[in-house]
């Protein structure tokens, strides 16, 4: 498994990285739980054609790029007040860089940039340097309208992530969730940095459990908008929804198949709550579990060969595993009397879930081979509903503390907790989008 991941990593690095050599060296091993934040200096940008009235763009580019990098949780953005040289004035190309001055303040990487404004047209140049080796890692020039400057910054941040971590960042991903206000709940989406919240539904009903299709084009969810708990699928381009499963009893959407054509669902259509595969083209249902107890929240392993789910067949809700066809059912969790919401790590045999620990609920991670679970979320309040980012580096979750509910994201080792959305009465069932190729 580990071998496969490395091969995959090289292929994507060769395809995506501007400087293939950079892919060979991983500066930041973000999978290491003890990883230190990587010190990086971002200088103010040089006004290359001395465009009048655009002086404020110099710090704007530095600040925006700094914030974009900081939100990944991997970087320590060095304070500009500590800088020893004015690199924007000296020049931004390799021959002008005063590497010892940057090494002297502890920077391992340096970002310089310059811009030229002509009318509404903007040319942006960005460079990333390895301070220790004194060499250029990535250089990019972007041209476009001045209104597109934020997008250009995010594009270069993406290049930095590829050069230093071997993989692109999550700047083109979103998080969907159900938000409650005044007795009803609706589906929302928000960028992974918390910007641009969008209310996707307006049914004034109970609407929960959004799940993104792997192609990023559709979203399934549960809604009572037609009176009973039915499964609907929304076309995210057209913003139109259609009902895909209605039985007059409980139906819950779960994970999508890799080809976005089938869906794991929970339905009580035949009596108790069991797990089925729903084929979206013809509505056919294939039953996977047949037990009088509750079977709910199924999720496919990344290779599609196994399914993790919640069952209370043993008396309390616990995480179970089974083969993709429904056979070989075995119990995974034994610690704690209430373990639910399994989320399979997108690249490894680890499952995050919500477990009862010390009278409250926390985000736990367990190897699918079994063993002792590790509590990832920090104590204090209830931390529920974990959802992995597509690269498995982050976990989105709901924090309930002091009567307040918040949508949060943390690094997979539990550090760098940041609030993505707050202000609604309650947040439920966050889910992370695949890469949407926005940048």
């Amino acid at each position: 498994m580990r071998k496969n991941r490395i091969v995959l990593f090289f292929v994507s690095a060769l395809l995506l990285a501007a400087a293939p050599a950079a892919g060979a060296k991983v500066y930041i091993n973000i999978d290491s739980p003890s990883a230190q934040k990587f010190p990086i200096a971002v200088t103010t940008f040089r006004n290359m054609n001395d465009a009048a009235g655009q002086e404020s763009l110099s710090p704007w580019f530095a600040d925006t790029l700094g914030k974009t990098l900081e939100i990944t949780g991997f970087f320590n953005i060095l304070d500009r007040k500590a800088f020893l040289v004015d690199q924007a004035r000296l020049g931004i190309a390799t021959e002008h860089i005063q590497f010892p001055a940057w090494a002297g303040i502890g920077a391992e990487s340096l970002v310089t940039g310059g811009f030229a404004v002509s009318g509404r047209d903007l040319t942006l140049e960005c460079r990333l340097f390895d301070v220790v080796q004194g060499k250029l890692l990535v250089g990019k020039r972007y041209t476009g309208r001045i209104e597109e400057r934020k997008e250009m910054v995010v594009r270069f941040a993406q290049e930095i992530l590829i050069a230093l971590t071997g993989e692109k960042g999550l700047f083109d991903t979103k998080i969907a969730f159900s938000g409650k206000r005044g007795g009803s709940s609706e589906i929302y989406t928000v960028n992974y940095d918390g910007t641009e919240p969008v209310k996707l539904t307006n049914y004034n009903s109970i609407t929960l459990s959004p799940k993104w299709s792997p192609d990023g084009r559709q979203m399934s969810f549960l809604s009572y908008k037609d009176g009973s708990p039915d499964i609907h699928v929304m076309d995210l381009n057209r913003k139109t929804a259609r009902r895909v499963l209605s039985t007059g009893r409980l139906n819950l959407p779960a994970s999508w198949s890799a080809d976005s054509k089938r869906m794991l669902v929970t339905s009580s259509k035949d009596g108790s709550e069991d797990i089925y595969i729903l084929s979206l083209a013809d509505g056919r249902m294939t039953r996977l579990t047949n037990d009088p107890a509750i079977d709910v929240s199924p999720t496919w392993s990344p290779d599609g060969r196994q399914i993790a789910f919640v069952s209370d067949r043993g008396g309390t809700p616990q995480i179970y595993l089974m083969d993709a066809g429904g056979g070989n059912v075995r119990r995974l969790t034994f610690e704690g009397g209430y373990n639910t919401t399994p989320a399979w790590h997108p690249r490894s045999n680890r499952i995050a879930y919500e477990g009862r620990a010390g009278g409250t609920f926390q985000v736990m991670v367990i190897e699918t081979e079994g063993g002792m679970p590790v509590q990832v979320s920090a104590n204090g309040g209830r931390n529920e509903n974990p959802a992995w980012s597509p690269d498995g580096r982050y976990i989105a979750f709901v924090s309930r503390l002091g009567g307040k509910s918040r949508l949060c994201v943390m690094n997979s080792n539990g550090t760098n907790v940041r609030v993505i959305h707050e202000g609604l009465d309650a947040y439920v069932s966050p889910t992370w989008s695949p890469h949407l190729n926005l940048y």
Binding site: S185, P229, R249, S268, V296, S297, F361, S429
Partner: protein, 201 residues
Amino acid sequence: MKRYGTLLAVTMAFVLALSLTSGCSAPKKATKEDVTMAGTKPAGPSEEELARQKADQEARDRALREQAIRDQEARERAERDRAAAEAARLGELSRIYFDFDRAELSTEAREILGKVAQLMKASPGKNLTIEGNCDDRGTNEYNLALGQQRADAAARYLQTLGVERKRIKTISYGEERPICPEATEACWRKNRNATFVYSGK
């Protein structure tokens, strides 16, 4: 010509009916007086006699109207009392409660379900929706399933007591419709229920 006459008569009858039902007696009195004055003034009773007769008639009318209103009020009161009694009875039969993470029926729940079954069998026109609810601890998805199990447990018990399954609908609202908002055991207890919603007579 005859058709117009009929039309005129119908229209007049309609106008008369309107003036009667509107509860305004003034126009009716005027019409009566006109007829009296035109037809019987020279040879009839004295004006005093006529006024006395008229006053008697009005008193009788008034008494009749008041009696009718009193009867109507009594009927409405009785209907209200009956509805209140019914509501109180249904109120007692509106909810059963469950333990945390359980869908088993307690002795108390079975007792209430026994009365629900009696009510349903005594009123064959009634239908019942059982709504399963949970407290907000644990996961929304699991609690939706648990709410369905609670509603189903109640429905199955009613069925064994002879209530036809087709008169019972079940729906789970999981933890989405709490009746008590606080994070206390007292509130959680109230929120772990199956609620009975009756329809029909």
